[in-house]
């Protein structure tokens, strides 16, 4: 263990933790905006109550997303200063543009939305949640562009004098094919989480909630269920597309996803492998013939490059003495866990829709228990997806350009990194407990009452309590 390892662990922990909140923010801001739009169009009070109810769950989560995001931005400079020096020109500019274009939009308009219920005319108030949601989605785009550049660096050259990456095409950077593939995949993945959250909460209320609120929650259940099912389909299609791009630009990552050591035509895909501990030999496996070739290249007979062949090729290209393969068990299992948990979420959402069709309320306690995991399954899938994509890039920090070990801060001591790693891990653990408790409390609390709007005489009354206050 040295400072590099601790810094990597810290990056992993803080990033995965941050990304527990991000999908909910992305998905819920959009779904709440849609709910409020339906209310605005139909004036059906049920949708207003759902907007406010799910809006509150969204906000409890949003605070955590924001604060853990600041840590991400600071972390590059604190723990990875040599990386920052190397890529500031390219990667830094995306972060700066993200802040300017997206963060201001998101946080300012969310403040207006939260506190503006009785201060803004209805259409303008509706526009504020859409502005916040668009800010969130833009933010996702820029950060994915930054990450995709690390996976597939484009639009730059290395300055031979300074040894630094210098941007030469912003167009190439923003249209990186990895970004274009990752964006829909991440977006649909986020919608799966948000949809799953709505389904779980709504079904709980159908079982345990107040009778008066059940019709509204039934509507929410159908809404969330369809969102989850459609988002699962979107995640699958975009994931397939992404797999093909990945095979093209990061063949080692795809080989590591299967643990494919030798270059193979008509490569199979294994659902499960029990191998020797070092991962070099297979003891037992369940495999689907040809699937890896199809996933990677869209052709069941295609040749997929193996780890050993790529290692030879990279040793010749980038220099010998480095293991260019990521940790195979991590990539192998995170890839499968991503797919498994994602598919399970989609199937469960579909089952729920079937069981509750035409106004039915299933009596199965088992279904209720299973559906309560529905927000968690896609969240776990999201996390494994990130672990796969980041661990699969190793040993590179920027593929083909900078090794991870070369990016760490030289001036930061082991003691400092351990201090911050411990601090963040403990703080995050404590906050996670608080957040989950609050979410559960408010999720169980049910829909808010809607009071009739004050008539015009009262509207100017300066002493009327605020519609929203902390």
């Amino acid at each position: 263990m040295d400072a590099l390892d601790v810094a990597r662990w810290q990056f992993g922990v803080t990033t995965v933790y941050h990304f527990l909140f991000v999908p909910i923010t992305i998905g819920m801001s959009l779904l709440v905006a849609i709910m409020q739009t339906i209310w605005y169009r139909t004036r059906d009070e049920k949708w207003l109550r759902l907007t406010k109810f799910f809006g509150k769950l969204f906000l409890i989560n949003f605070a955590m997303g924001i604060v853990t995001g600041i840590v991400q931005e600071f972390q590059f400079g604190m723990n990875w200063s040599d990386y920052s020096r190397f890529v500031g020109d390219v990667f830094g500019s995306l972060l700066a543009i993200e802040a300017l274009v997206a963060f201001f939009l998101e946080s300012t308009f969310l403040g207006l939305w939260i506190f503006g219920w009785d201060r803004l005319p209805k259409p303008i108030h509706l526009a504020t949640i859409w502005a916040a949601s668009i800010g969130t989605i833009l933010s996702m785009y820029f950060i994915l562009a930054a990450n995709s550049w690390m996976q597939n660096p484009v639009g730059f050259h290395i300055n031979p004098d300074t040894g630094r990456a210098e941007l030469n095409s912003i167009g190439a950077l923003l249209t990186n094919k990895v970004t274009l593939a990752t964006f829909p995949h991440t977006f649909f993945g986020a919608l799966m989480v948000a949809g799953g959250l709505i389904v779980a909460v709504a079904l709980w209320h159908l079982y345990r909630g107040k009778d008066e609120q059940k019709p509204a929650f039934r509507t929410a259940l159908t809404f969330g269920g369809w969102v989850t099912v459609l988002a699962t389909a979107g995640t699958l299609v975009s994931g397939d597309f992404q797999g093909k791009i990945m095979t093209e630009v990061q063949p080692m990552k795809m080989a590591a996803a299967e643990g494919l050591y030798e270059t193979t035509s008509s490569a199979p895909f294994s659902l499960l492998t029990i191998g020797s501990l070092d991962g070099s030999r297979e003891v037992f496996a369940i495999t689907i013939p040809d699937l890896l070739s199809w996933l990677g290249k869209g052709d069941i007979h295609a040749e997929i490059e193996g780890i050993n062949n790529l290692q030879e090729q990279y040793s010749a290209q980038y220099g010998a003495g480095v293991n260019y393969a990521p940790i195979i068990p991590v990539t192998y299992w995170s890839f499968r866990m991503m797919i498994f948990f994602g598919l399970a979420a989609g199937a469960l959402a579909l089952l729920t829709l079937w069981m509750t069709r035409k106004g039915r309320t299933p009596t199965s306690k088992l279904l209720l228990t299973a559906v309560l995991t529905l927000p968690i399954l896609p969240l776990v899938a999201n996390s494994f997806g990130w672990i796969f994509t980041e661990m699969g890039r190793q040993p590179w920090l920027v593929f083909g350009e900078m090794l991870t070990r070369d990016g760490v801060s030289r001036s930061v001591s082991m003691a400092e990194v351990i201090t911050s790693f411990t601090t963040f891990t403990l703080l995050y653990a404590a906050l996670a407990v608080v957040e989950v408790k609050l979410l559960l409390k408010y999720a169980k609390g049910g829909l808010p009452e809607i009071h009739p709007e004050p008539d015009d005489d009262e509207k100017d009354d300066a002493d009327r309590p605020l519609a929203f206050a902390y």
Binding site: I70, R85, F104, F468, Y470
Partner: protein, 347 residues
């Protein structure tokens, strides 16, 4: 003026925006235990910044992003060098933000008290540490030939930097008190006004001492002396306006003071971005720390197009929530199960 200089100025502007805006909401957090004698009053205090504090914090994120993009060497040296202070700032900002959002989500007193502590700590600590950090940047720190910071944590705790930290706390506190006097009504307004007057006197002494030390010892020129003098005069003007009960003008005054104090630091720093106390040859400058002209050009276009729009909608937010708040505006502290009005956040 080349683009790197333009970005040095723009980063200065972003930090001015950050300290002027988050400065008053830090001050509001600091005054939470002083002005909020009961829960209802504390909620008045917090709600004065409710709709805006989050947007204010984005100024910091943007300033950090702009440093990363426009001066990667500066960002890398500063963030890895000032490791522990930044860690503390992050922890403080995290618990503070979560505190604002969560304190009202349960009604028991212990819960609220704990989050109040988080908000108070989260408001003092960043103000103090940013003051220490910026004073050290101006003063110069040990930097080696690789642009790596070679001092430890305690190297940052020198008298000048500590004065910078305390001054920043005092400025934010006064700025926050004036803001509260501007945004509240009734008894709280009167007390906020009184605190602003008292804290303002102490702040004036500290600010004058710190600015004088800055311009006399670290390469001050005519421009930085001018900004420092105007900053001090604005504070005096703010105190007079506060005494006359003209809260709007008092707030303009403290905003100018904080803004020009930051401008003074950047002016003294120019054309360096982080002087090395080890060897002047290792000093990070606008020229040797900046990105390439192409990146700066792209970012300049984005900044020129987007910044005015951001200023417009943030300004609009302040306009929408311009009304004063008093205790009678605070809805009852309803529990979740007993719906409190049509409030999204309920309590």
């Amino acid at each position: 003026m080349d683009l790197a200089t333009f970005w040095f100025i723009l980063i200065g502007v972003l930090f001015v925006g950050y300290f002027v805006l988050e400065g008053f909401d830090f001050g509001v957090g600091m005054l939470l235990p002083v002005l909020g004698r009961d829960d209802r009053e504390r909620r008045v205090v917090i709600n004065t910044i409710g709709p805006v504090w989050d947007g204010n914090e984005v100024w910091l994120i943007t300033a950090g992003g702009a440093m990363f993009a426009a001066f990667p060497e500066w960002y890398a040296t500063l963030f890895s060098g000032f490791y522990l202070p930044l860690l503390l700032i992050l922890v403080a900002l995290i618990v503070r933000a979560v505190g604002f959002d969560y304190r009202g989500k349960r009604t028991d007193a212990a819960w609220k008290r704990n989050w109040d502590i988080a908000i108070i700590f989260g408001s003092y600590a960043p103000a103090l540490l940013w003051g220490v950090a910026f004073a050290n940047i101006v003063r110069g720190v040990p930097i080696d030939g690789n642009f790596d910071y070679t001092g430890g944590f305690f190297n940052l705790l020198n008298p000048y930097a500590l004065l910078g930290g305390v001054t920043m706390v005092a400025l934010c506190l006064t700025h926050g008190a004036v803001f509260l006097a501007l945004k509240t009504e009734g008894d709280i307004r009167v007390r906020a006004n009184r605190i602003a007057g008292r804290a303002g006197l102490v702040t004036a002494v500290l600010a004058v001492a710190f600015l004088a030390w800055t311009v006399t010892s670290f390469g001050g020129n005519a421009a930085s002396v001018a900004t420092a003098v105007v900053a001090a005069l604005a504070l005096v003007g703010a105190l007079l306006a506060n005494r006359a009960g003209r809260e709007g003008w008092a707030f303009v005054g403290t905003a100018i003071t904080i803004g020009l104090a930051v401008v003074t630091l950047f002016t003294v720093l120019f054309p360096n971005v982080m002087p090395s106390s080890t060897d002047p040859a290792n000093t990070l400058t606008i020229a040797n720390a900046s990105s390439t002209p192409y990146t700066l050009k792209i970012m300049t276009w984005v900044a020129l197009l987007v910044t005015p729009v951001v200023l417009l909608y943030q300004g609009w937010t302040y306009w929408v929530f311009r009304k004063r708040i008093g205790v009678h505006h605070i809805p009852d502290d309803g529990a979740v199960s007993s719906p409190a009005g049509s409030a999204i956040g309920g309590a």
